[in-house]
């Protein structure tokens, strides 16, 4: 198990050091600093072994978090724990920065004492932790006995992520379907790989212990239901999507999903990520990039890039950015574009073309002439792919939320009284076309 946990600033100074096991000494703190943070070469693995001790690290802006052990531990668990640790800290004091860590070091030690015992991760749900670890000193001493046992049963209980007795005057929930669409296309326009990784983020402001049921146009579910009425299958069959795989927040009853493919849960209060999913079939690729690069002699390149939007004309894509890499020996660039603004950024070795808005089924074009300095460098220019960024108001996977039903058996509100909001946002992930 985890033997110790250290947090360093960018200089390698220790901000937090908590040792859980006897086999980890103070020298481990220095070993990591010398061998990883101060290493001359770039770090080439998130796991470093120094003198039979393993160091697992993650970086958040310029802060290093390192978990140390001498045992053969479950590496995935250690990293998941480090991410969780970051989430917990962020939930308590916002951005993870040197200043915030120094300002909250007592709190961090308290959290570390609670969420890692002898190196074993314990309940690390912020919802539960916040009931008894607060920034304003400890609450529990003024608690009644009942409150105390409520805390402990929540921390150890089955529904560790939600406390009892939450009340809202207005029961409301927000669902965001956030997708990032990834593409790698060959210069000839052949899709080398494409997938959508999506997240359903829920913000719930619901009273009591509401039982929720979430439904979407999952092909498997629709086909199951559609068996009765053939008519409906043909209608909805087109709209259903094949989900390759999905994972759920720990509040979702996985065994029920496995047997019935229904998604039921009692949500944590506030914002959380209900599910993540991935699809690879029938993806709507919002943009197509058509590159044309021509080498004119040794000192000149001609680049022409056409982008085509491929969605309903009534919808608008936003924040469109096309990044066309240029060789390192570029001496000058001349650009002409029909729409938006284009600039050559020498420091980034790229032409950046920005378009604020673009409707569906449109086309736009940029041409550039790149002057090159003659070099005798034998190394050929690697031609990095042309990448794109954008945001569209629909889900490229085709996912639709069908329903989110809320039941609260004890309190007196029904599904109809809950105000529900749904929003779809599709963003570019790694959206690249090779040229």
């Amino acid at each position: 198990m985890i033997g110790g946990l250290f947090i360093y600033n960018h200089k390698g100074e220790v901000l937090i050091s908590r040792v859980y096991r006897d086999d980890i000494g103070r020298n481990a703190v220095d070993a990591f600093r010398v061998n990883v943070i101060h290493a001359r070469q770039q770090v080439r693995s998130p796991v470093t072994n120094i003198a039979r001790t393993s160091f697992f690290h993650v970086k958040r802006s310029n802060i290093w978090l390192a978990a140390v052990t001498k045992q053969n531990v479950n590496a995935a668990m250690v990293f998941e724990f480090l991410y969780k640790m970051c989430d917990v800290m962020a939930a308590y004091f916002g951005k993870i920065s040197e200043e915030n860590i120094k300002n909250n070091f007592v709190l961090i030690y308290e959290l570390l004492d609670e969420i890692l015992d002898f190196g074993y991760p314990q309940n690390s749900e912020t919802g539960a932790l916040k009931t008894f670890i607060t920034q304003q000193g400890i609450k529990s001493q003024v608690l009644t006995k009942e409150e105390q046992s409520q805390i402990t049963s929540q921390v150890t209980g089955q529904i560790g992520w939600r406390r009892e007795g939450i009340k809202y005057r207005r029961n409301e929930l927000f669902l965001d379907v956030l997708e990032s669409v990834n593409l790698l296309m060959s210069p000839q326009g052949q899709v080398l790989s494409a997938h959508v990784s999506g997240r359903v983020v829920m913000k719930s402001y619901l009273s009591g212990m509401p039982e929720c049921k979430f439904g979407m146009n999952d092909k498997i579910v629709i086909e199951k239901q559609g068996k009765g009425t053939a008519d409906e299958t043909s209608k909805s069959g087109k709209q259903s999507i094949a989900i390759d795989d999905c994972t759920f927040h720990q509040c979702v009853r996985l065994s029920k999903f496995d047997s019935e493919r229904s998604i039921s849960f009692i949500p944590p209060d506030g914002e959380f990520e209900l599910m993540r999913y991935r699809t690879t079939k029938d993806i709507i690729l919002p943009f197509r990039v058509i590159p044309l690069v021509r080498e004119v002699g040794r000192t000149k390149l001609e680049v022409k890039v056409v982008i085509k939007s491929n969605f309903k004309p009534s919808l608008l894509a936003q924040k469109i950015e096309v990044r066309i890499p240029t060789p390192l020996n570029t001496s000058g660039v001349q650009v002409i574009c029909m729409k938006g603004k284009a600039k050559y950024k020498a420091s980034e070795n790229a032409i950046v073309w920005k378009i604020k808005r673009m409707a569906g089924m449109k086309e736009s074009q940029i041409s550039a002439e790149i002057e090159l300095l003659p070099t005798n460098d034998k190394k050929k220019w690697a031609r990095p792919p042309i990448s794109m960024n954008f945001e569209v108001p629909f889900a490229p996977s085709g996912l639709k939320v069908r329903y989110l039903k809320v039941f609260e058996p004890k309190l007196n509100y029904s599904d109809h009284d809950v105000i529900k909001w749904v929003r779809y946002i599709g963003r570019s992930g790694i959206y690249e076309t090779r040229c």
Binding site: V14, N74, A76, E80, Y109, Q141, V155, L184, L192, A382
Partner: protein, 785 residues
């Protein structure tokens, strides 16, 4: 309110000031002071001098202050054991506190204080806490048993805590169950024999129930524990699998990976004809692919695991090649792992796509990555025969880029392709030769020289090319020198008339590399330094396979030339070592290449590491006439005088005949010294293994050996390496072996064999660690022949 100010106290007399503040009457001031102490402790300052003052602050009802004091105690109690006793009373009292959070805090902290006297006092409160009415206290107490066991295992057993811990597996609260499982698993690890985690269908059922209800971390503890269980039949295995599969949709990647581990293991027990088997296989791929969209560090861990999974069951991911394609912004560690998996998944069906990708990668920036990509192209050629031609043309394209390290790497892999598919792609040699001058890495130079030597008859100016390398012969690395030597000899055999001069030149150059400190006559120095590799290089040329598989089952190396005729006025000696039923002998073949008759042979050994000496005079009965060869066997014993040699298995030999005395030296394989009674008793083995310090342990990897555990055992046994025990851990076979050398040195070995993986891990422990390297070489030789 900010706490960062506590980090900035660096003035003199700080400790003194803190002392005063700690003893202040005002609560706030006290707390401030403790915070400063903790801050100093964090940055590594020694604040142990404040121990009594800090401990005095412990008696407080302010929980925040109490936690800070506990933190201090955990750090310094060990350095001040006597004073730590002062804290005991408060701990004991806190364990009785009405507030469960305080009870748990006390028992949690007490377990972290590694002072014997405190440990004694811990037992009673711990016993109570294990049966506490509050689950929060019980789950903390469960972990505390593991802590106590780490400090004093005997005490935990004497006090019966292990039984209480076992009872907690049936606790009503899932988190208590999870922590109890974690604690028991850890304790069980240090007592491999004790049947502590006595898993049976009933307790497994309890674990599976808790699995649905506990925290994500608890699920990991339980799944990792399940992975160590062996179901009694396939039906049980299937029912566990069915209940574990829902975990594959968990948001926590570690839960998913642990579930995959359990499923991979239990699948072994399922019959392949079962419908369920197929369903399960299909269910495994999507979650593994999803892991690749996790954060980069987790992707790395997932990829390392996937690498093992595709070796075991390539069918799971065979259609998912695309997800392992490298993205431009992947961190380098992710890129390198992906590349490995791509090669493993490459097949005839997807090779075109893979090659197109690899070609892209070969133009990237990171040198390591590019090199690996080029190597990968070579491996594809060797793996998928149909693709070889395409690979070669891709490699040629890459050579045209003239990027120095790409060219060198490409030449190294083309050499391998030539070896695998001889006489197929020689048309490219001309292109390769054009790049001769740009090669500066030994491996690439050696590869190029090999190619020139191998295809000397097709290269018009082969002699010129090789000669060009000779100029800087002394500056080359050994690898290149050896290759050059072999290549020129090959050339000589193919075109004897034109190249005689070249051969003489290289041989004379090679003989000049004597290490003067070696103390051997200069003529013998060449084989001494270059002995073994030269002969192996030459065995490419001469058919010297006579000795294999004769006599006993023990491996006998083919005879190698020890003393070339040029060095010994026409006498050529080649030989090898054998061991059969307890006796060692040296089999020699003497050839007379001179023009006069040779008589009066005699042999003598220099002192050597294991006291090897001739047990009888050299028997060459009749005089040896020109162009005649005689074979003889010289029995050896190990009672000669001993002197440590460098390398250890070096043997210097002098042979006399009527013409002169000749010296040469040779390396003998260590396995001729492995005695027949090298089988150690099991108990003795365990004790000895523990007894030998860890520094003496040496680890080696035996690559490209596709034998299973049984064959390995029997092969090794015939060379007197005895398998004492065999164990199966997580699908790997672990063989525990022993052997004894003629001088009584024992060597203990642990050989880890993974089905489907052709690399074995060999760990050797020995009181004389310098023999390990040679024992490993003996393993290599025995297993690969």
């Amino acid at each position: 309110m900010t706490d960062s100010k506590y980090f900035t106290t660096t003035k003199k007399g700080e400790i003194f000031e803190l002392k005063a503040e700690l003893n202040s009457d005002k609560k706030e001031k006290k707390k401030e002071a403790v915070k400063k102490v903790i801050a100093s402790m964090t940055v590594g300052k020694d604040v142990s001098a404040l121990f009594p003052d800090v401990v005095n602050c412990m008696q407080t009802d302010n929980l925040e202050l109490k936690k800070l004091v506990y933190l201090y105690l955990m750090n310094y109690a060990k350095s001040q054991p006597d004073m730590a006793i002062m804290a005991v009373n408060t701990f004991v009292k806190d364990c009785e506190d009405p507030n469960p959070l305080i009870r748990a805090l006390a028992v949690r902290t007490m377990g972290c204080i590694r002072v014997d006297k405190i440990t004694e006092y811990l037992c009673e409160p711990l016993r109570k806490c294990l049966k506490d009415e509050d689950p929060y206290v019980r789950k903390t107490a469960a972990v505390c048993v593991a802590k106590l066991h780490d400090i004093n295992a005997q005490l935990v057993e004497d006090q019966g805590f292990l039984d209480t811990l076992k009872d907690l597996i049936s606790d009503s609260n899932p988190m208590v169950v999870a922590n109890a499982v974690a604690a028991l698993s850890e304790i069980a690890e240090s007592h491999p024999s004790s049947n502590l985690l006595d898993l049976n269908p009933q307790s497994i059922n309890k674990l599976l129930t808790a699995l649905n209800e506990c925290t994500e971390w608890g699920q990991i503890f339980i799944l990792d524990c399940l992975a160590n269980y062996t179901p009694k039949d396939d039906r049980e295995a299937q029912s566990i699998c069915e209940r574990v599969t829902p975990r594959l949709s968990h948001a926590n990647s570690a839960v998913v990976l642990s579930a995959v581990k359990v499923l991979m293991k239990f699948m072994e027990m399922l019959s392949k004809d079962l419908d369920y088997y197929g369903t399960l296989l299909k269910k495994l791929a999507p979650p593994l692919v999803t892991l690749l969209s996790a954060e980069p560090e987790l992707q790395y861990v997932a990829l390392r695991n996937i690498n093992l999974i595709v070796q075991k069951r390539p069918e799971i991911l065979k259609h998912e090649m695309k997800v392992f394609f490298v993205k431009y912004n992947d961190p380098i560690y992710v890129k390198l792992e992906k590349l490995d998996i791509m090669i493993r998944l490459a097949s005839q069906a997807n090779i075109a796509q893979v090659l197109a990708e690899l070609k892209e990668y070969a133009t990237e920036v990171d040198v390591d990555f590019v090199r690996k990509a080029v190597r990968a192209i070579g491996r594809c050629a060797i793996k998928v025969e149909q693709s070889a031609e395409r690979c070669v043309s891709t490699l040629l394209d890459l050579i045209q880029t003239k990027v120095n390290y790409v060219v060198q790497e490409a030449i190294v892999v083309i050499k391998d392709i030539f070896r695998k598919y001889p006489n197929k792609y020689e048309s490219v040699i001309a292109t390769l030769c054009e790049n001769l001058d740009s090669l500066d890495e030994p491996e690439a130079r050696a590869a190029m020289i090999w190619i020139v030597g191998e295809y000397a008859e097709r290269i018009d100016n082969a002699d010129e090319l090789l000669e060009s390398f000779l100029e800087g012969f002394h500056d080359e690395s050994t690898q290149v020198q050896l290759q050059l030597l072999t290549a020129i000899v090959k050339l000589f055999l193919k075109k004897p008339t034109e190249t005689q001069e070249l051969v003489q030149q290289v041989l004379s150059l090679a003989t000049q590399i004597g290490d003067p400190s070696f103390g051997a006559p200069p003529a013998a120095a060449v084989p001494a330094r270059l002995g073994a590799p030269i002969s192996s290089g030459l065995s490419d040329l001469f058919d010297l396979t006579s000795g294999v598989g004769t006599l006993s089952g023990s491996y006998v190396a083919p005879k190698a030339v020890w003393l070339p005729a040029m060095k010994a006025k026409g006498l050529e000696i080649s030989g090898t070592f054998t061991r059969q039923v307890g006796s060692i002998s040296m089999d020699l073949q003497l050839t007379n290449k001179a023009l006069q008759v040779m008589t009066d042979f005699a042999i003598q050994f220099n002192r050597n590491s294991f006291g090897l000496a001739p047990a009888a005079p050299l028997q060459v009965h009749a005089p040896l006439s020109p162009n005649q060869t005689v074979e003889t066997s010289l029995p050896l014993n190990t009672v000669g005088s001993v002197m440590k040699m460098e390398p250890l298995n070096n043997l210097q030999v002098a042979v006399k005949n009527n013409i002169d005395v000749f010296y040469f030296s040779t390396l003998y394989p260590l396995h001729i010294l492995f005695v027949e009674d090298g089988k150690m008793d099991r108990q003795m083995f365990l004790a000895t293994w523990k007894d030998i310090p860890n520094e003496n342990e040496a680890q080696f990897q035996i690559r490209d050996c596709a034998l299973n555990a049984e064959t390995v055992s029997s092969k090794l046994q015939s060379s007197n390496i005895f398998t004492i025990a065999k164990r199966n851990v997580e699908g790997q076979d672990m063989l525990y072996q022993s052997l004894k050398l003629t001088n009584g040195i024992w060597v203990l070995a642990e050989l880890r064999i993974q089905p489907g993986n052709t690399s074995f891990m060999l760990s050797l422990k020995c009181r004389a660690p310098e023999v390990s390297q040679h024992v490993y070489q003996a393993y290599e030789t025995i297993l690969k022949n």
